[in-house]
């Protein structure tokens, strides 16, 4: 913890953290000093001059008008934001900022959540004195996601500071000078950054707005929102989807200072289309006949009982989903326990082994897994096992912060990626070969003093790793790299760790809840389940949220399921649901509540949007109804999470109490609690 200082604001003494700027301290105290260009993640630029306040270095010393964002707080400082000179300065400044700003608030997308609108009102600027014409611009086509409206610009530079300085993009720039400053691309065209959507949030007014939201626009105050978690990768960014009139309208990042902080990637932001998709399942079906969900559940339960009676144990099986919540997968496992059935999760046998090994290492606290803000702090990064830019985009953004700080980056990836341009060295090799390269680095680390390494890449990486103070290795536990790569990364870290210097290790996973399902007890390899379905040994198969699973290739047409009764619990009419004998529709991710575990083993709670659809039950609820229909309802109350998953009992009991706006629950810290408790 950094030292505390005392600072007087508007005559009241406050305690604050030393070394921060005055504006940030005021904002943290909940005191709204008007500002524009300052952004907590992007830092102070001193471009807008709006956060002026009378600041004195101490009692009895003269106060001067200073920019709060550019002034470091010192002990004993006296800040007065209500001083008439400061108030007058800010009002004049807003008047200048508004010189060229169109008065189009009634038709502007930003209206209602516009910082310029708020600040203008806050500074009490009401009357326009300028009689000259406003300067106007030609707008650019910035591609499918972002709408450009340059006339509204007040030149705060937040957009380029995010896009270019923070996210290291090079296709958005600032042109001209003085009164003719223009923010845009060199020529019309789609923005190429994976993080372009954040322009919508960082722009304090309506220059950059969300094109998708524009198409189905409503005023932001009319949106119904629910704190949710992005379903697209294992980072688990906190998001705030907004809906109106039965449709999802937009997704925004939700601040969480231990996960994604302020931002999110475009994939997550613009990837909510599945909620409004035409192929949503809206009605239940059994043996080709449409019926109510209750009836379909009753009939499915009867059929399952028959199958178990006829064919005995092991005749029924289930496939769970890494794209579904812990609750849904738990309900599926419980269903199989009730029926003495078998279960697996969508993936392959090799992937399952890799995921289980990685998840166990994290859960047992054998590796030190950093949160995203901690990833940003590293001074050495080795990325191995996949394209992080596509598979965990926000982790790519965190790595970009280490690059800004001058930290070396080494990449071993299957093919060229976007981060290669910033790497000290990048090596492209097929996934199975990557474990060998990682082992080479570990070997080179042993002989750091020896010259003439046989593998120059490994030698360079090892010597940079040896001298780093806060090194980290990011390893993709996603695909064909398999368990060998997971182990290789772990042994490299084990070798690099010294008592005075930790070496952190991230395993990132292919899907939102891959971590959670990897902790399941008694699951089988998906390969054996597939085999037994195809050779007819399994007579009934329950498929959970196939539409949300990555492995969409199975079930497919090539190997028909011999005499297998299939039950699809799904929100989307994909392949599984189309061919299923029983279709039990459920609500989609953004419409339900649940818990998921991200790459760190952080359990996070999400809530659902209240979209009034024919189907409102989550997949977990549908499965629990099915268990009740089988007459095993009392098992639900008797079962705890740690009966089904390899998680500490303390965590099991805490999951139910998680709040969506909390930091979540780290499995490795609950493991520590377990040790203390006994």
């Amino acid at each position: 913890m950094s030292a505390k200082i005392k600072i007087t604001v508007n005559g009241v003494m406050h305690e604050a953290e030393a070394g921060r700027n005055i504006l940030q301290i005021l904002l943290d105290l909940g005191i709204m000093l008007p500002h524009f260009c300052y952004h907590e993640a992007l830092g102070a630029a001193g471009a807008c001059r709006l956060c002026a306040a009378m600041i004195s270095p101490g009692a009895g010393k003269p106060a001067r008008l200073e920019m709060a964002c550019m002034t470091r707080a010192e002990d004993g400082m006296i800040v007065d934001i209500t001083n008439p000179q400061a108030v007058d300065f800010r009002e004049k400044l807003i008047e200048e900022l508004m010189l060229n700003h169109p008065h189009d608030c009634p038709v502007c997308d930003e209206g209602g959540e516009c910082m310029l609108q708020d600040m203008t009102v806050l500074c009490r600027h009401q009357h326009r004195r300028n009689r000259f014409p406003k300067r106007t611009w030609r707008n650019q086509d910035l591609g499918p996601h972002i709408h450009h409206e340059m006339n509204r610009c007040i030149t705060c530079y937040r957009c380029v500071r995010f896009y270019r300085d923070y996210a290291l993009g090079d296709d958005l720039g600032v042109f001209g000078s003085r009164g003719r400053v223009y923010f845009g691309r060199m020529r019309d065209g789609a923005l190429v950054s994976e993080f372009s959507g954040n322009l919508v949030d960082v722009c304090p007014t309506g220059v950059f707005t969300d094109k998708h939201f524009r198409a189905v626009y409503c005023r932001p105050w009319d949106l119904q929102t629910a704190p949710s978690i992005c379903p697209h990768c294992s980072v688990g960014c906190n998001v705030l989807p907004g809906s109106r009139h039965k449709t999802l309208r937009r997704i925004k990042p939700r601040r969480n200072h231990t996960v994604n902080r302020f931002f999110m990637c475009d994939h997550g932001r613009f990837g909510g289309g599945f909620v409004n998709a035409d192929n949503r399942l809206t009605s239940a079906r059994f043996d080709g006949a449409g019926m109510s969900l209750d009836d379909a559940i009753t009939q499915t339960a009867e059929r399952l009982k028959e199958i178990v009676q006829t064919h005995g144990r092991g005749a029924v099986a289930a496939i769970g989903s890494p794209g579904a919540s812990l609750e849904a997968n738990a309900a599926l496992i419980l269903l199989m326990k009730t029926l003495e059935g078998r279960f697996a999760f969508f993936s392959t046998g090799a992937e399952r082994a890799a995921h289980k090994r990685a998840a166990a290492l994290i859960a047992n606290g054998q590796v030190d897994t950093p949160s995203l803000p901690e990833v940003e702090q590293a001074d050495f990064t080795l990325i191995v096992g996949g394209d992080i830019t596509r598979e965990a985009p926000m982790m790519d953004l965190a790595v970009r912060q280490t690059i800004r700080a001058g930290a070396p980056l080494f990449i071993i990836s299957p093919q060229a990626g976007k981060l290669d341009a910033f790497a000290k060295a990048a090596r492209h090799a097929a996934l199975p070969e990557q474990a060998a390269i990682v082992s080479n680095i570990a070997q080179a680390l042993d002989h750091a003093l020896m010259t003439g390494q046989p593998d120059p890449f490994a030698g360079a990486a090892a010597s940079a790793l040896a001298t780093a103070k806060r090194p980290q290795i990011l390893c993709g536990a996603t695909g064909a790299g398999g368990i060998a790569l997971v182990d290789a990364a772990h042994s490299l870290v084990a070798k690099a760790v010294r008592p005075e210097r930790p070496c952190r290790l991230v395993y990132w996973f292919p899907a939102m809840n891959s971590f959670g399902i990897s902790l399941a007890r008694n699951d089988e390899s998906p390969d054996t389940i597939k085999q037994d379905v195809e050779n007819g040994r399994i007579k009934a198969l329950t498929i959970l949220e196939h539409g949300a699973s990555l492995d969409s290739e199975w079930p497919d047409d090539s190997k028909p399921m011999k005499s297998c009764f299939t039950i699809a619990v799904d929100a989307i009419a994909g392949k599984a649901a189309t061919d299923a004998d029983a279709v039990l529709p459920c609500a989609s991710h953004y419409e339900t509540f649940g818990t998921v575990m991200n790459y760190e083993g952080r359990a996070q709670r999400f809530e659902g949007l209240p979209l009034p659809r024919p189907v409102t039950w989550s997949s977990a609820e549908v499965l629990l109804k099915l268990i009740e229909a089988l007459g095993a309802g009392e098992a639900i109350n008797r079962t705890e999470y740690h009966d089904l998953f390899e998680i500490p009992a303390t965590m099991s009991s805490l999951i139910g109490t998680l709040a969506p706006d909390s930091e979540g629950l780290l499995i490795r810290s609950t493991a520590a609690v377990r040790e203390v408790v006994g």
Binding site: D170, D171, G173, F175, G176, S177, R178, Y182, R185
Partner: protein, 172 residues
């Protein structure tokens, strides 16, 4: 297209700095000379390639400074200061006189390609307001009757101080 020799020279120049991007302005000046007084899109691409600065940023630099031109400019550049001192001392009149004399508006080039007339914010010549600059030469305080003389003097020169406009310096 620039010659290989020029490319080698400019690439070498950037190598003199700890960071290649420091050499950007010099590279752009040389390219503007090479392309006859302005920077076509090709020149932006070349400057980006030579200095290692992204194209977008090179364009940002080119549009930031008054003396980089992104479209063909006249042989002589006349800038009229319209900042505070010159404004108080009647720069509007001077600009209007120049416009009448040359038959063009501020921001335009005469049809014969001889003069480009531009406004500028402060020439640092406030004590001699109103002030104008023709090529590299400062004039001030300027009166309405001086305009004819300045224009004729400049036009009579075979070439301006911006020598790059001479045919002999044009790229082959």
């Amino acid at each position: 297209m620039i010659s290989d020799a020029l490319k080698v020279q400019l690439t070498g120049h950037c190598g003199h700095y700890p960071s290649r991007r420091v050499g950007l302005i010099f590279v752009m000046q040389k390219l503007q000379e090479h392309y006859g007084g302005w920077l076509p899109e090709e020149a932006i691409r070349e400057a980006a390639e030579i200095s290692g600065v992204p194209e977008t940023e090179v364009e940002g630099v080119a549009t930031f400074y008054n003396w980089f031109f992104r479209e063909p400019a006249g042989r002589h550049i006349i800038v009229v200061c319209d900042s505070i001192s010159c404004y108080l001392c009647g720069c509007d009149r001077i600009a209007a006189n120049l416009e009448r004399k040359l038959g063009i508006k501020l921001g335009e080039t005469t049809p014969d390609g001889m003069f480009t007339l531009l406004p500028v914010v402060c020439l640092g010549n406030c004590d001699k307001a109103p002030s104008i600059m023709v090529d590299d030469e400062l004039y001030g305080p300027v009166t309405a009757d001086m305009i004819d003389e300045i224009i004729e003097k400049t036009a009579s020169e075979t070439h301006g101080t911006r020598r790059a406009h001479d045919e002999r310096n044009r790229p082959v």
